[in-house]
Assembly symmetry: C2
Homo-oligomer: 374 residues x 2
């Protein structure tokens, strides 16, 4: 860093700067054993303000246009800066170093944050090389659906990740918490090989930040993963694990195929589930004219609903954890769905009944569970 | 109860019934040492379904039009009934006793709740005599503002109450948690004396339930309080305490009067407060051309904002707990405010700068607090 670590005087659009600082701050700790990591590096030069920070796992670097009166770089606490900028009502704001403070100035107000020692901050390196490109809209939509199947329990890091893999001209995203699995793929333009396990939180954060981007570039090497679009670079450390293979769920023979309105089925599951008692298991019976959704518990009473559906193949009844089935149906919204059901304790795969060639595709695996009466 | 405790067969509008059951259920426990109190009594007779329940402190009785096929009365768990009715999508629903269950039936579904022993339920008595009437809109608006100053800490029941008192043709509502006090009054048509201490939660619940009412009738005797409007009766047990007198705050001489835009002042308080450190005290300086809002803390930095205001009287600086000042300003919204400020540790009273004769009126008392530099 060749910039003056004591200078900086810059005027920026308040809304643009507030949004960028809030985006960066979400990836940084608000306290912890390394207080410097709560800081955001602000670097002003050539009519551009660069915001960067890291929690040692994730890195963020955002560039925004600004009027730089005096070049310089400072480190200030990210969360308080985000809070103050987000509460301002004036259209323009000036950030200027005054002694040991960064002053946030508006016509009627002055807010001064203590400077932190930027020399001791680990800094934010460049992302690895680009390996391909993908439509921002499609990636954001698919990440939101796939990542919902990842675990939030850090005790088993493998299951907090999303497996991201290039398969020819498709990019596959797979997540599982061991009880259900989401398998998505979408078109991409590969420039290299890609087979990595990425922490789900970074992908979810990208979905929040890249809403105005058109194309997202994917970066990876043997230890790091990154996503970039104009003005933004987000990076993270890869999870080092072998991910479960999904082909035994998607390629195995099927005993019955059900086509059903996803929203209608979700409504029935939502209404019947409260009657399922402490094990929270509901029964789904494949019948000639549709599905019968049932639950019973001596304490809570009992419930059943019939849902119109076409059923091809065998007739049998499976139990499912109500919450997992509801989660799976939720990601598909109101579309018409195809359920591929297998005998025994083998997986049920939920997918859209109709997928156009070249569209993003999603399959959601839920496992049957023994019914109280089995 | 002369009704058959095993019968009941009724068809009702789903949305109307779901809303009424949800309203009643919010006042009832979902578990506890008296499981019967989790139940809602449903009584069908003469094209009317009456829903009633009690937690032994509060009582609720709601009447709704319904098509009664078979008269009867049953007791069923209120929360599960509310949840199932609230999730239904069909316009009509049938409630019918089937053996030891109350079945909730729609064309595609059946949900069956266990009947509870209605004979053992304490029942819901009539409200005390009416003592006056008040506009529903005005009462709801004022309750929302006054009750925000009541304490949520049950350890001191006195401060969880709202003092409701008839004063000629005005009805006064006063609440305090010892740190701030809200004093409201509105026109009413008295039919008797009224001077009671009412648990704030019941008044807040009325504000949720009586949105379509025009006039609310107030009921009270020496031990109970109630509010009624067409189709609804809510009651509660009075708190037995003497309430602090507010006249020393409202009638004492004033050292300075400030007129200021409430929303602008609230914005400045909101932005400056995060810099006030662990004591969360902000300084408000009365100046010639307005107010200066300041906060400082070595750890957090410092902030100040100037707010245009007219100041009549003395010039001095008070500290305030930032949160209490923000709470007080919030209830006034965007109106122009008059602050009556006194020297020393004596109360500051916030009120609307302009109140029309015959309108509801509100004054909010906040106490100054020593500044770190005092």
């Amino acid at each position: 860093m060749s910039l003056d670590l004591t200078g900086l005087d810059v005027t920026a659009d308040t809304a643009v700067l507030a949004a960028a600082v809030a985006d960066a701050a979400r990836l940084l700790p608000v306290k912890g054993i390394e207080p410097l990591l709560t800081g955001l590096l602000l670097s002003g030069q050539d009519d551009e303000l660069v915001l960067s920070g890291t929690d040692r796992t994730n890195t963020v670097r955002l560039r925004r246009t600004a009027f730089v009166h005096t070049d310089g770089e400072v480190l200030v606490p990210a969360k308080p800066l985000a809070d103050t900028l987000g509460a301002l009502e004036e259209p323009e704001v000036r950030l200027v170093v005054e002694g040991s403070r960064l002053a946030i100035r508006t016509p009627g107000g002055r807010f001064a944050l203590p400077l932190m020692d930027g020399e001791l901050h680990p800094g934010v390196g460049a992302l690895p090389a680009a390996v391909g490109q993908v439509s921002a809209d499609e990636l954001i939509a698919l990440v939101g659906k796939v990542a919902s199947a990842a675990s939030r329990d850090d005790a088993l890091p493998l299951f907090t990740g999303v497996h991201v893999q290039g398969r020819g001209d498709r990019l596959a995203l797979v997540a599982t918490d061991r009880y259900r699995m989401a398998i998505g793929d979408l078109p991409w333009q590969p420039e290299g090989d890609l087979d990595v396990l990425v922490p789900a939180p970074l992908l979810i954060e990208v979905a929040k930040q890249a809403r105005t981007a058109e194309v997202i570039t994917i970066h990876a090497d043997g230890s790091r993963f990154g996503l970039s679009w104009p003005g933004a670079q987000l990076g993270t450390v890869l999870l080092a694990s072998t991910f479960p293979d999904e082909s035994r769920h998607t390629d195995a023979p099927v005993d019955a195929v059900v086509e059903v309105d996803g929203e209608v089925l979700a409504g029935a599951v939502r209404r019947v589930a409260p009657y399922s008692g402490p094990r929270a298991v509901i029964a789904v019976e494949l019948g000639d004219s549709g599905l019968r959704i049932r639950a019973a518990d001596p304490q809570n009473g009992e419930a059943e609903e019939t849902v119109k559906a076409t059923v091809d193949g065998d007739r049998f009844t499976h139990g499912y954890q109500a919450r997992y089935l509801a989660d799976a149906l939720r990601v598909f919204g109101s579309a018409r769905l195809r359920l591929s059901v297998r005998h025994g304790m083998r997986s049920t795969v939920i997918a859209l009944a109709d997928v156009a060639e070249g569209d993003a595709n999603l399959r959601y695996v839920v496992m049957p569970i023994r019914l109280p009466s089995d």
